[in-house]
Structures are given as structure tokens and as C-alpha cells.
Amino acid sequence: MPVEFSTYLTLLNDAILAESGPNLAYLLRPTSPHGKDLVKEFKNPTRAALSRYEGSMMSPWDEIAIQYVLVCGHIAKKRYAEAFKEESQLVSLFYRFLPENRGWTLPALFSILRDLRDLAYDADAHSREGAQVKTDSMEEAARIISKAFGLCMTDRISPPDQSRKWGVYYVVGLVLKCYFRVKRISLSKNILRALEANNDIPPLMSYPRSHQVTYRYYIGMLSFLNEDFVKAEQELTLAFYQCHNAAFINKERILAYLIPLRILKGHLPSTELLQRFPNLDAIFTPFIRAIRAGDLQSYDRALETGEQRLLELNLWLTLEKARELCLRSLFRKVWLAADKSTRMPISMFHMGLKIAGIEMDVEEAECYVANMIYKGFIRGYISHEKQMVVLAQTNSFPRVADRQNPYALI
């Protein structure tokens, strides 16, 4: 039986009285079945046509119900920009309801904000000017969603377990998603600063795991893109290990950035790990194989082949930085060929490079060795006069994973 508007109002009222966030979310979702019913009832709903329903429910719910019908109407007619605009208005009205109410509202809040983002995406996607993708709606969505952050933070009335503060990290996650989507991640600064400034909320670890993992993923990515590799590795590690095992795509996405970070630290992904993620196996194995074998030519070939796509994913630079692990393996093989001698002429390393297909002057080879020593891959010193590398008696080639502060030396 199709849901009529008057019934819809009753259902809304019931959900509010019962303080049922999930029911309210369902009722406000444009894709819910009653959305179609209401559009049919009003045929071409306009605010004017619906204005007679104002006052039929306590404010702002009368207006919210009207907004809902308008949104559904626009979606049905594929008028995405208008749908987004009306949903923005719906959200603003909901914000008027929020301050007087506790955390039970959060499922509904999350839901309408997700709807807002989806409609922003559609509005932008359908308003392209030629090849130029627009981002206005998504940016506007970020602005609107940011207001929810404040409304969640400033809950002074609810008992702790029912506080709106439990929505904070989820909302921040949505805002960060918006900024990443429009490729303006620097805009994240403000909300993150506000988050850090406030110690009135429970610690991140107390929040639902989905909120934690999403948040950590985006903080990890922000750190990664800002070349704060220490923080990036910390956050992405936590995100990966706490991510639900069934959320495969998300795990894969986290790993795509965690793997190169771990490689730089001297942790190569095990076969066990790579077998679980065939796409990542295909991408990274050429590099890993080259590192193990000290095969610089293969490594360089892998960098060249994957250049375009790796650049798009912001992975190319990091893998380029990891090239020195391959060089280290090469030099270690030279050391093995010299029976682990503690005195090795530069010319030996030079020859090793030559055989590996890398032509250069002896001076350049000496530079490479000097760099290896500087970065802690080789323990020893160079006697430039004697053109000799004097290696430490023990642990001449320390395990890469044992280097202190690997990211500081990049």
C-alpha cells in the first residue's frame, strides 16, 4: 500500500517520539520506497503546493517533510542540482532539531549527510563544462557537513553514553572525504585543528571501529601526501590492522600506501600478505623482487612501466625513494662476492654496478657508497685517498629493518 503524505508525517512523528535514529534515517532517505509514493501523490511537487502542510507537525519537522518530498521529486526528474539544494535545506532544518536532542539522532544525522554527499556528487557530475569536472556542490557539502561537527561537539546536556559527541569522528571522516574528492586536502586543516583543540570528547579508541578506521585512513593519507611518513605509517598500520576483514576494498586501499611505507622501513610484504591482495601483488612484486635480487635494471624498468599510473596514485615518488634498498642489495652482493671482506676497493663496487648494467664513473660510484654509509645501509668509512671502503668488523650491512629513524634519512 503506497504511503501517503499524511501517513508519512505520522511515521516521522512515531520515529521521533520513539527516539529511533535508524527509523528516522530510513524515513528521510530519498531511495526509500515511500519516496516514490510521495512523488506520485504530488505529481510535480513544489514548495507552494506543499505549503498547506506547514504547521501539520511541530517545527522544523513540517518543513523537513516538505523538503523530503521536494528532494524526491527532483531526483525523479533527474534535476540533480535542485535535489542537492533542497537536501541542503533539509539538513539545515535538521540542524535546528539537533541541539535539543541526544545521541539517538546520530544514525539519522549520518544518513542525511551521506545523502547530501551523494547528491553533491551527482550534481557536480551532471554539471560538467566540457571535460572540466565541477566541484562546487561537493565543496558546499563539506561546508554544510562541517557545521554538524560543531553541533556534535557542543553537547553539554546529554549523559556521556548518549552524547552527540559520539558523532564527531564520523562527521570529520565525511568532511575529509569531501576534501579528498575535490582534491583540496589542504582545506582539512581547519576541522582537524578544531578537533585537536578540543579535549572534551572521548578518546578515539572508544569510538566505533568503523569511525576509527576511516579517520585513521584519512589522517594517514594526509600525512603521506605531506610526506610525514612517520605519522602516515603509524596511522595506516592501525587502520589496516583494525579494519574489518570483510571490507576487502578498504583494506586493499590502505595497504596500497602502507606497503611502500613499510618497504622504506625494511619490512617487505610477505607472500602470505600479497596472496590475499592479488592487485597489490601484481603492482609491488616487480619492485620487491628487484630489491631482493639487487637488480637495479629491473627496478628502474618497473618504475618506468608503472610511471603514469603510479604518479596518479601518488606512489611513484615513494617507490623511487625505495630504490636505494635495491642498490643496497646490489652492494651487499658485491660484499658477498668479496667473501665479506672488511676492506673493499671502490673499484669493486664500481664493477658490481657495471655488471648490473649501470654505467658510471668511479667518482659517482664512490658517491653512491658514501650515500649508503651516510644513510646507515653500510657501516664503515671511505678512505678517499686509498679509494678503499673500510667496513665495520661486525654487522657491515645491518638489516634494513634495524635502521633507526628510516624516514628521517629519506
Binding site: 551527482d122 578506521v213 590492522y241 571490507a247 617487505l268 592487485n279 599510473r309 669493486m348 638489516r399
Partner: protein, 105 residues
């Protein structure tokens, strides 16, 4: 819950043939959808994540400290590969000729 029309491109990517594990294609699969997905559930048990299988190992650890997902001991002393064999023969050759040279002076 999915966007009204937005997911059509995402669905197309997912049903794409992933049988050919060509690195280029794999990179494409990752790039297409640049957003972290909504989780099916808000929260989950310890048993449902990789953290559970770390045992007592610290986060950030590798195989030598109990985390099987990462190798930190991958140096080997194998000298039978082509490169090492070639290098050893080159070194032997030049050592031979340089000691001859030394003897001459």
C-alpha cells in the same frame, strides 16, 4: 545505500575482468574509486580484524617479532645467481692481472 546515479561507474569497474593481473590494470582499479567505502557495520569484534592475529606482537612489528605479514629478515647469502657468479669471475680476473702488475713494479 548508494548514490542515486553515481555508482554506475563504480559498479562497472567492479565487474571488470580482474583475471589478468597486469600491473597497469591493477593500478587502474585502485585509482578509479578514490574514496574509502562505508563499512557494513559500525563496529566489530576483535576476531574480525588482522589485529587479532598479531598475538602479542606490537603494531608496527614484522615477522621476527611475531607478525607474519611482513618480512624483516630477507637478506640471503646466496652467491649462485648469475650476477654474483659473473662478478666473482670478474674480480678473480682483475685480481690476477693486478697482482701481475704489482709483481712487475
Amino acid at each position: 545505500m548508494s548514490p542515486v546515479t553515481a555508482s554506475s561507474s563504480k559498479d562497472a569497474v567492479k565487474t571488470e575482468d580482474k583475471a589478468t593481473k597486469d600491473p597497469q590494470r591493477c593500478l587502474g582499479v585502485l585509482a578509479e574509486d578514490d574514496e574509502f567505502e562505508e563499512f557494513a557495520a559500525a563496529d566489530w569484534d576483535d576476531s574480525e580484524m588482522d589485529l587479532a592475529h598479531l598475538g602479542g606482537a606490537a603494531s608496527g612489528a614484522a615477522k621476527s617479532s611475531g607478525d607474519k605479514l611482513w618480512e624483516d629478515n630477507w637478506d640471503d647469502d646466496d652467491i649462485e645467481d648469475d650476477f654474483s657468479v659473473q662478478l666473482r669471475s670478474e674480480l678473480a680476473r682483475t685480481k690476477g692481472s693486478s697482482s701481475d702488475a704489482a709483481m712487475e713494479t
